[in-house]
């Protein structure tokens, strides 16, 4: 059991943690750390926004949690597993969706899902099929002919169908139009999981995540600026101002040419 704390307030409610970072630091070179003494606790079943400007260390933090990088200092736990960087310490049931993890070319959507399924013991083909329908993707479509948004949809399908206990989404909506964003969010919300799923979503825009998240951590230059329950933070004047800065005004829905014609 761990305690969720707001930077501004005392300890409140004890909840089980899915991810716990304690004074975690990391750097790509020995000379410079990009994450400095990060301490956050992500409660099981929560949807956690990792916010911050470009270069704040959001993606790096998710990669550390996924076990793709090794913390230089501090302790990082995912569930009961301490992530040390060795293959055996790689946390099970953690799935990272990253725009940089480009699916191999030459596959159709269906063949890619079959290929990927072999590496996920809890693969749910029904979920994959349902999401394919929801996203209006045909199994015979070639991955490399899909738009960027289409490829992100396929990545989200693989991420959700693998039924991870901890789902890490690195800038899932970057470069997507409003409709595709909405489709992805709908897809995420539509998946009914039998076990609690913890989700961390990295973004620089809180506005696009407001429907999804209940907790946030704001990073700035590799340091935790503030963290805690979103509602609690909004009640604090200083934190609320920061959160407002991270929330762009929602973009108006642009009617498509077809809608205009109608």
């Amino acid at each position: 059991m761990h305690v969720i704390t707001n930077n501004a307030g005392p300890a409140t409610t004890p909840v089980p943690s899915a991810v716990e970072c304690s004074d975690v630091s990391f750097g790509f070179t020995a000379a410079r750390d990009v994450l400095h003494a990060i301490s956050i606790t992500v409660p099981v079943g929560s949807t956690f926004a990792v916010l911050g400007p470009n270069g704040a260390g959001k993606s790096t933090l998710l990669e550390l949690i996924a076990g793709l990088r090794t913390p230089r200092r501090g302790t990082l736990r995912v569930g009961d597993v301490r992530v040390t960087g060795s293959p055996s310490s790689r946390p099970d049931g953690v799935m990272l969706m990253s725009p940089r993890a480009v699916p191999p070319a030459g596959f159709t959507v269906a063949s890619l899902l079959r290929f990927v399924a072999a590496w996920h013991a809890r693969w749910d083909a029904e979920t994959a099929g349902a999401l394919l329908q929801r996203f209006a993707l045909a199994g015979q479509q070639r991955i490399d002919t899909l738009s960027f948004g289409g490829q992100m949809k396929v990545q989200l399908i693989t991420a959700l169908a693998s039924q991870p206990r901890v789902l890490l989404l690195d800038e899932p909506f970057i470069g997507l139009d409003v409709r595709t964003k909405e489709a992805l969010i709908d897809g995420m919300l539509s998946v009914d999981t039998t076990q609690p799923r913890t989700t961390l979503i990295a973004s620089h825009d809180l506005a696009e995540l407001e429907l999804l998240v209940d907790h946030v951590v704001v990073l700035n230059e590799g340091r935790v600026h503030l963290t805690g329950n979103l509602d609690d933070l909004r009640a604090q004047s200083g934190a609320a101002a920061t959160l407002r800065d991270l929330s762009r005004p929602p973009m108006p829905h642009s009617p498509s040419p077809l809608e205009l014609a109608v």
Partner: protein
Amino acid sequence: MTLPSEAVRILSKDLRVLRWPLTAWCALLSLSIFRGLDVMPSLHEALFPIAWTVPMLAAALVAYAVMQDSPVEGPTFWGVHRQQPLAVAGAKAMLTLVLLVAMAVGHAIVLASHGLSPMQVMVLVADVARDAAAWLLFSAALAACARTAAGWLIGAALAATLAMLISTVAGNEFGVAPVWALTPLSAALSLTAISVMVLVWTYRAHLTGLRSGARSALLLVMPAGMAMTSPGPIDPVTENTARPDAAMIMHTDRVVSRIDRRAVVVEMPVTYPDSSVVSAVTVAWRLQLRDGSAIDLLPRGARVFRGSVLLQPEEIVALWGRGPVTRMLEFRFPLDTATLARVDGNLTEVTMALETDRVTMRRIASFAAAEGGTVALNGVRLRIGAVGPGGGFPMHVSSVWMPQGLSTLPWSAMYIARPIVALQSGNDRDLRVLKPVDCNCRNGMLNGSWVLPGNEMRGGVAALVPAGSTAPVTGHVIALAGVYAGRIKQAIRAPVAR
């Protein structure tokens, strides 16, 4: 999933991703085989670049497959889907194996079509596969260190430049390349082992965090290592197709010395073992004096060109016979006046330490040493153009016609196909070997002239027949194939006779 099944699954993914480039590569490989078969000689020259393109593209394909699943990139597809690093590295090694098998089959077809026996084909294909495996795995390891295709290209260009540089230097008498790097087997195995280690390490380090500094160091060290161990610059004479015979010893039992025109002249009868050719790599001398001191000679210039004679006038680089053959060798050491004075009358013992390559000879054909006499060997046609005194040699002209297809053969095959023309006269023990007639592309020189595939070489072939002899030449020309039998270090020591 087990590790092997995971690797096979990733390999199938790679084959799928690369299916169109692989199809194009297979087409080029087929063209290369077609060229080697000499079915349409008119296309031979036009298709020449393909012989080089096929292995280079194979290296590029392996590199592409590695970079698709890069171990140095951040979140990769294989990383986020929890594929085991060793399985990914294993899949790349298996892709290399697939390409190697395809190339080996192609070589086997070409070699067999030129009349080589199944055993010869097997040995030669193993040679080709050994070198190609080293190159392809090097390419894979380089790609595993490089973050981008540009990085891989720079690394490959650096490696090629260094290899050529070292090759040039190694061919020089002041060469600096270590001896171990000049043995193809050790070089290829070293390169293969280093490449596999780097490949596995970089993939394993994907999880433990490969430092960019280490990656940069590898990018610099790998080309240097490849260049030093590159099988490329190695002369085919060192192809290790037979085990060294430790029993092969040259020996002498006496030395005669004299002072002549500001030089010490040493004469020694050296007995060579039978059925072999020796070629000096390094020679060093020690003259032991009566007062216990010694003079070491030839610290520089001890390295001689591979395949050349020891030193003038010991041009007997090759000997062949049934039973041991003894030749009187004479060596001349110009010395300064003071040293000459020390040596004069005080020389008690001479030691010649030398390193030689031994090549065992196999008779593969013989034909009459008469004008117009001809024989074909593995596609190489030898023809006696003229027999008789001329240019100081009793047997003046021979010619070698090299078929187009031979240029696609591996170097070792060319060497085996290389005939050494021997003049047989009198009894078998008196067989003398002419200078080897090179008829391969790489060393396709006859008396200093490069010979292009498909051309006929004409020129004098130096015959080790007593100069000035006017006796008519009779007998047979023997075509011999040389098989490298190892490098031997030995010291010949003998007391100076008075």
